[in-house]
Symmetry: C2
Subunit: 114 residues, 2 copies
């Protein structure tokens, strides 16, 4: 798992932008053209296209051009990569927080924000 990390870099970076997350949400409802996707945003088309490219290069979406229209669709497998990473993290800290930590954690916090 060498460039697995590089892949995550790209994915998380792509997700770290509200425009791109909005595009993903929209695409979750089904494929759409670049123009359609751009409509809700005030920015210029070339600027918007960069976001599309970012999403595509990170593997979060797939696109294909037919005639003069480029259609974008979500690529679910990439989100699976994120879920895998998340699950791994949770696995570790859940395992260990079931041991003797409750007590240590208590000691380190002045008061309990729960």
């Amino acid at each position: 798992m060498d460039h697995y990390s590089d892949r995550l870099d790209g994915i998380f970076l792509a997700l770290a932008d509200p425009t791109r997350r909005a595009v993903l949400s929209r695409l979750a409802g089904g494929p759409a053209s670049v123009g359609d996707l751009a409509k809700p945003f005030t920015m210029a088309l070339p600027s918007f296209l960069k976001h599309i490219r970012a999403l595509e290069e990170s593997g979060l979406i797939r696109t294909s051009k037919q005639g003069r229209v480029r259609t974008c669709a979500i690529a679910p497998e990439s989100l699976a990569a994120v879920e895998t990473w998340l699950a791994a993290q949770r696995a570790v800290w859940e395992t260990r927080s079931d041991r003797l930590d409750r007590f240590v954690t208590r000691a380190q916090q002045k008061d309990d924000p729960t």
Copy 2:
């Protein structure tokens, strides 16, 4: 849910760096001091500290100083925010991919990578 998006910006941006993800993985095994955390990395301490700050400001970790040592610990709730977003996404595209898509998806891929 207005600044919920801003929060995600910070979290995803923080996760989009291998150094910071490595720190998180390490912290998943339990709290550690800044110095300890920095050891595996070749970069200078001030550079490393910026990563710690990024993690803290995004809410992914919590830190506290005692004497001259600053101890860092993971903040599980923040990962929950990511999971919430992910789940929401999946919910939408899973709902709709249970309809007539299987067929369309087939048509768009040359061969099945499963």
